[in-house]
């Protein structure tokens, strides 16, 4: 259900961190700006407590009048102070806003770059990579893993820098104002640090447990809803309900556990804060009242004027509270950094995946494409552990020495049982896979020497399962190529006979289709696929034409006609199940277990009286039965 939560197992890794930081490099200006802003904010923050201290000591204590002299002067001073305070607040807000934006830009840009890199990489990886990795896992790479890296940068690195700045500035200022009081207020901070660290770890574990239990509950829910009718038919309701209740209770317990730790954590921090206040209050009183120990440890009594003021007391209460947040952030920072390690490792894992089917440095393009296809003693297996040296008898071979020569403009039908290797033949023409032995050549050039992109532009594929993208019908036909004029789309649709159907839809060519084309019938989807291939106007056409059971006779007829039309005049390799289609082909190639066993024209093969002849007889009989 969810990706395995193994993030906590990963140690902090400098190598990975450096690689992540490489993504930050292009935004060096933002980084520098951010650091400067963080520094300015750190410097500005303690000023407010100092202004308050000044206000209290200079204007608000009973002694103030004696010191300043006139009430008017006091008022003026007070007004100036208030204005200064307000002005600085606005400035501070400006700095913080700017900082938030800078960090936002930085994080989002890095996020965007990583996401684009991973996506582009995945687009370029060979098809076999997609055969091996479930789509769900790949999605996680471009979503939650990338997000984890963003957390790493914005929450981890940034708060590391910012918190350090603030702590240093505060410590310096507090020490310089009154080092004794400063030291006393610092006593709480280590406790806060360790308490935060302790609770954060506990909470992280508790939340992880919660997520695991939630995933269990969700997958059981999903399973039970999907299989509810089975549950009912087999009278399993009570057992399922009990089983679900177990998981549901476990989730509740995990949640209660999280609440347990959380409910402890927050009050502990709050109490620590007040302890700091109480300490400052008491020791400041001690100094103000002049009861205390002097530097030599002797007990002193009597008023020691000026050592500490009420304003200083108030300022210290403020400053010590403001130190709490950065200390807590710092305590959590390594958790965040660590959490991103596993994600970055997975992402770099994708980026480092070797592109097995890559263009050679001097890959050729074919400017004048003719459409000749040659298979020369081709041996092929999907299993990548199979090499040219693997013995012929190995059961993993899919194609076993195929020799096939297709002339430009020739149409060839591949016929044979499931697993005979027909689909593989078509996949090799587009070089979706590389062959282990022999060579596949297009226009006399080994496909390995051609630029993949260029090659595939000349090869159109109509797949068994028509894949429709979310978008409009038109965007699916043009494959989002805005350069294809609308007229050409209409022309192609008229040609394959799907134009009228499209017009009958609510928004015509602009009708939205959903993923996997849930809104269209099988037959219509197939016609659209032909139209799509036709619009792309390939030189070689590969058609994987599944016999479709759920197509009415009229649509069936249309598909047949459309197929014949799109084949006309271009090299076509067709895996066909419809007799009429096969009969229209120039040549029929019968395959069995990775080998070509018969080939020839329809009439030749019928005359030959082999496999094809019998297949033909059977299908004819079926067709008769259907009528």
């Amino acid at each position: 259900m969810t990706a395995p939560d193994d993030s906590y197992k990963k140690e902090f890794d400098a190598q990975l961190t450096r690689r992540v930081l490489r993504y930050v490099q292009p935004y060096l200006k933002l980084v520098i700006g951010g650091i400067v802003l963080a520094l300015l904010i750190s410097l500005a923050s303690p000023i407010f407590a100092l202004i308050q201290r000044h206000a209290i000591d200079a204007y608000l204590t009973p002694l103030a009048l004696q010191n300043v002299g006139s009430l008017d002067a006091l008022y003026r001073g007070l007004t100036m102070t208030a204005l200064l305070y307000a002005g600085l607040k606005v400035l501070q807000f400006g700095l913080q806003y700017a900082f938030a934006l800078v960090i936002g830009y930085l994080g989002q840009n890095v996020l965007r770059d990583i996401r684009a890199d991973v996506f582009s990489k995945l687009q370029r990886l060979q098809l076999s990579y997609f055969d091996q990795n479930p789509v769900g896992r790949l999605i996680t790479r471009v979503t939650s893993d990338v997000d984890a890296i963003n957390q790493f940068i914005t929450n981890g690195l940034v708060s590391l820098i910012q918190s350090t700045f603030i702590i240093v500035v505060y410590v310096v200022i507090m020490l310089s104002v009154n080092w004794r009081l400063a030291l006393i207020s610092f006593t709480v901070l280590p406790i806060l640090y360790f308490a935060t660290n302790f609770f954060r770890t506990k909470l992280r574990d508790a939340f992880r447990d919660t997520r695991t239990q939630q995933a269990t509950v969700n997958s059981k829910l999903n399973e039970n809803i999907t299989g509810m009718l089975t549950v009912q038919l087999f009278g399993r309701e009570r057992r399922s309900a009990l089983d679900f209740d177990h998981s549901n209770r476990a989730l509740l317990t995990a949640n209660e556990n999280s609440v347990h730790w959380f409910s402890l954590f927050m009050p502990v921090v709050a109490v620590l804060g007040q302890v700091a206040v109480a300490l400052i209050l008491f020791f400041a009183s001690q100094q103000i009242l002049g009861v205390g120990l002097d530097a030599n440890g002797a007990l002193q009594t009597g008023v020691v004027a000026g050592a500490i003021t009420v304003g200083t007391l108030f300022a210290f209460i403020q400053l010590s509270q403001q130190l709490f947040q950065p200390i807590q952030d710092l305590a959590d920072v390594f958790n965040t950094l660590q959490a991103a390690m596993a994600s970055s490792e997975r992402i770099f894992g994708v980026l480092d995946t070797e592109e097995e089917i890559a263009d050679k440095p001097d890959a050729k393009t074919l400017p004048n494409f003719e459409g000749r296809v040659d298979f020369e003693q081709v041996w092929f297996a999907y299993d990548q552990t199979v090499t040219a040296e693997t013995p012929d008898s190995d059961s993993r071979w899919i194609l076993r020495g195929i020799d096939l020569h297709i002339q430009p403009g020739e149409s060839v039908a591949l016929v044979g049982a499931t697993g005979a290797g027909k689909t593989s033949v078509t996949a090799l023409v587009s070089r979706f896979y590389d062959v282990q032995r022999g060579a596949v050549k297009v226009d006399g050039e080994n496909v390995r020497d051609l630029a993949q992109h260029d090659l595939r532009k000349h090869v159109g594929v109509v797949l068994q399962e028509v894949f429709l993208f979310a978008g409009t019908i038109e965007s699916n036909l043009t494959l989002n190529n805005a350069e294809i004029p609308h007229e050409r789309v209409i022309e192609a649709c008229k040609y394959v006979g799907v134009h009228d159907y499209i017009l009958s839809l609510e928004n015509g060519y602009q009708t939205e289709v959903r993923e996997r084309g849930a809104t269209l019938s099988t037959g219509q989807k197939q016609l659209l696929a032909f139209a799509r291939a036709l619009i792309q106007n390939p030189d070689i056409l590969l058609v994987l034409d599944e016999a479709t059971a759920n197509v009415d006779t009229e649509t069936e007829l249309r598909i047949q006609q459309a197929l014949v039309k799109v084949m006309r005049g271009r090299t076509s390799v067709i895996i066909a199940h419809r007799l009429s289609t096969i009969e229209h082909c120039d040549r029929i190639v019968v395959m069995k277990k990775g080998r070509v066993v018969e080939q020839g024209s329809h009439s030749e093969l019928l005359e030959h009286g082999g496999y094809y002849a019998r297949l033909h007889r059977l299908q004819y009989a079926q067709a008769d039965a259907a009528d």
Partner: protein, 764 residues
């Protein structure tokens, strides 16, 4: 509770065949109409019995005999029997009290709240306590500060403070903090835990309710939608109950106590605050709304971009096949940029929220400093520095509550809307269920004698079964065949009462299926469906899935989880010997023994993926092990090769002694040994009899037999591939074929120019 059912009536006064109509959206109680209330607040599309669209429902409530054609009516539960089948999940509970969102929504939540009444009440009292005590530290600070100033000003008229006193006040601060901390701790353990418990209870109850819903419901419901409700919506409700409830009390009590203290300190300053706070709250609420909107926009783009990735990875073949990677990457980058823009837009309102709050409070402080300072200087000791400090501190306490006001409306609105969606699940009713008064509990056993009497089944306007009359005596081995869509599966589903027929009666042992207790019926019938659903459990548990000898305790619903006994342990599945035997009969034993973990092999996502044939055989074992009176196999040998099929059929004959077996199949080899074979075409029985009789009839079945004989000839040819002699033949054939191909090539190259021409004509 009075239940009401909606139905459409096809013809004047006749209720025997009410037909179907479909409702999109939802129904809810309310507005009165005649004597009985009907209220449909949501946009609903109505379809009449013939599929015609009705612009609006006519909520006419009148006695059944006055009904005229095509009307939508309300009927009370008493009429249920005569109105079956109704799409009864459209029932509207508790219609007697017309209600309105969101009050109604809250009222239906009440039973759950009531279970945790104590926790919520105590929790809220604790919030109030904590909020009050939290104001004490500032009081102590004030006393110390004033005492210190008094001691320092050299004026004997102002009271000073001793260090001991200061020490006590400092201790007071700590004590107050500890007390408030303890209150907050228990508050969380009360309210937040209660909300988690409510979440558990709602999930438990809805799960139990879902178990009672039937096939017609699940045919319409989407798993994704149900899952969304049980996860996202449930979380939103829980958040409203836990965090929401707490915050509302927190905000109210926080404001009240703080303002009381501030007022007692200085009414002048309080007036300033009163003028400023609404502005702050207003701005924050506005920001919160803005953040909500932008957050949603960013989320939407986020799912869009994830959807794009999903699509491109699943459609890798198309993307690569048409070499459109670059265009797709460009597209993705554009979407990526849009996401960046939306996230930045969010950051613009979201990022500085805290500093904005600090700015507003800072400005308020400056104002208070100005006015408060003058007060101190002029009030002659009535307003002191200590009081000033206490005032400022008390005001700062309100930072969080002020921030929360903006959020709390969102949390509540989402919570209520989500609860409404959850309510819809509770409101769904099964059409196929035991009905007190109708169900005959005196029926204890079933032998498996089946009789279809003039049974028809309609899906909307489509008739899938037409006037089926069929008798299957107990112990018969019946084969059913026919083209796709001829109604074979539906026939099987009527026997398990997955749905009730539109007209006619299905009887077992002479009883109408609708009066047989469902549990008894399900115990008597075992089904192997076309596409069996297996669970993510061990093979053994999957096979023993439906074996339940001891009565398991029922999971109680509608009760509080507080103090509930632990969930009883589920007894282990029955003896392995029985499971093993079933696996053997289903021809699965060899496969299972081939797995390293044997019967303990885990299936599904985290385990082994079975092949189609293995899945089918597991499902067969699962059915056999129950030793049912009737065994239905719905095309469940299709993915099994002929030899295994023969083994399974032998096994079936072994267990089918005295049982009724209904075998739906396409292969003649599967059907030929049945006692009787029925051919269904377009919902009608067109042929029936034994294998030989049907061959003689020379109809559909005979044709099927002929085709399959031809096909098996081909299969044999396929098998001959390993034969060396055949291989030699094949080589010769290939050489010949290549020669043919070469001659073709020359032929083709000659015709090529014209072909290229054609292509150019096709697409200019």
């Amino acid at each position: 509770m009075k239940r009401l059912f909606l139905c459409a009536v096809t013809s004047g006064g006749r209720l025997d065949n009410p037909g179907h109509f479909y409702v999109k959206g939802g129904l809810r109680g309310g507005q009165s109409c005649g004597q009985m209330p009907l209220y449909i607040p949501q946009k609903v599309k109505w379809y009449g019995p013939n599929g015609a669209f009705h612009p609006r429902p006519c909520g006419v409530c009148c006695p059944a005999h006055e009904l005229s054609s095509g009307r939508l009516i309300l009927v009370t539960q008493n009429n249920f029997l005569s109105l079956s089948p109704l799409l009864s999940d459209m029932s509207i509970p508790n219609m007697s009290a017309p209600t309105r969102f969101p009050l109604d929504s809250l009222r239906s939540l009440w039973p759950y709240l009531k279970m945790h009444q104590r926790q919520y009440v105590i929790g809220m009292v604790l919030v109030i306590f904590a909020n009050s005590i939290n104001l004490l530290p500032f009081y102590f600070i004030r006393l110390v500060i004033d005492g210190l100033t008094g001691a320092r000003d050299g004026d004997p008229g102002t009271p000073g403070i001793t260090l001991a006193q200061a020490g006590w006040y400092a201790l007071g601060i700590v004590v107050a903090a500890v007390a408030a901390g303890v209150f907050m701790l228990y508050m969380r353990r009360m309210i937040v835990v209660a909300s988690r418990q409510t979440e558990y209870e709602v999930r438990r109850d809805i799960f139990a309710h879902l178990q009672g819903l039937d096939k017609p419901y699940y045919d319409r419901a989407s798993t994704g939608d149900l899952m969304n409700r049980l996860t996202g919506d449930l979380s939103a409700v829980r958040e409203m109950l836990g965090f929401g409830a707490w915050q509302i009390v927190n905000i109210v009590s926080g404001f009240l106590t703080s303002f009381a203290v501030m007022f007692s300190l200085s009414w002048q300053l309080t007036l300033i605050v009163l003028a400023v706070v609404p502005i702050i709250v207003g701005v924050l609420t506005y920001l919160a709304r803005l953040i909500n909107v932008r957050h949603r926009l960013a989320q939407e783009q986020n799912s869009k971009i994830a959807g794009k990735a999903q699509e491109n990875f699943s459609g890798a073949r198309v993307v690569k096949g048409y070499a459109i990677e670059d265009r797709e990457i460009g597209d993705y980058k554009a979407m990526n940029l849009e996401l960046l823009k939306r996230n930045i837009a969010l950051t613009k309102v979201d990022g500085p929220l805290r500093s904005f709050m600090s700015l507003l409070l800072g400005l308020a402080f400056a104002l208070i400093l100005l006015v408060g300072g003058r007060l101190i200087l002029t009030s002659n000791g009535a307003f002191t520095v200590g009081m000033f400090v206490q005032f400022v501190g008390t005001l700062e306490r309100l930072t969080f509550p002020m921030l929360m006001i903006g959020w709390i409306t969102g949390v509540t609105q989402r919570g209520l809307a989500s609860w409404l969606r959850l309510r819809e699940l509770y409101d769904a009713r099964a059409q196929v269920q035991d009905v007190p008064g109708r169900t005959d509990t005196s029926i204890r056993t079933l032998d498996g004698d089946l009789r279809f009497q003039n049974v028809s089944m309609n899906y909307g306007t489509r008739e899938v079964l037409k006037n089926i009359d069929l008798h299957v005596p107990a112990g018969t081995f019946l084969g059913i065949t026919g083209p796709t869509g001829s109604g074979k599966t539906v026939l099987g589903q009527l026997i398990t009462r997955s749905m009730d027929p539109s007209s006619g009666v299905v009887r077992m042992d002479g009883h109408d299926l609708r009066v047989i207790p469902l549990r008894l019926l399900h115990d008597a019938v075992a089904v192997v469906p076309q596409e069996p659903f297996l669970f993510g459990d061990t093979l053994a548990n999957n096979i023993a899935f439906g074996v339940e000898k001891q009565e398991l305790p029922l999971v109680k619903t509608g009760v509080s989880v507080v103090g509930a006994p632990p969930v009883p342990n589920i007894p282990q599945q029955p003896d392995p010997e029985r499971v093993r035997n079933a696996a053997r009969l289903a021809g699965l034993l060899d496969d299972i023994e081939g797995f390293p973990d044997g019967f303990e092999t885990l299936l599904g996502e985290r385990g082994v993926t079975l092949s189609g044939g293995q899945r089918q055989r597991t499902a067969i074992a699962r059915a056999i092990v129950r030793e049912p009176a009737i065994l239905i196999l719905d095309d469940s040998l299709s993915a099994v090769d002929t030899e295994t099929e023969r083994k399974i059929l032998d096994g079936l004959r072994e267990v089918s002694q005295g049982r009724t077996v209904i075998l739906i199949a396409h292969r003649v080899s599967t059907l030929r040994h049945a006692d009787k074979i029925v051919v269904l075409e377009e919902g009608r029985v067109t042929e029936q009899g034994s294998h030989d009789e049907l061959l003689e009839l020379n109809g559909h079945y005979a044709e099927l037999e002929r085709l399959q004989r031809l096909a098996s000839d081909l299969d044999e040819d396929d098998d001959a591939i390993g034969d060396p002699e055949a291989a030699a033949d094949r080589l010769a054939a290939r050489r010949e074929a290549i020669r043919d191909a070469q001659s073709h090539q020359t032929q083709n190259s000659q015709t090529q120019p014209t072909q290229t021409q054609t292509r150019q004509e096709v697409l200019k």
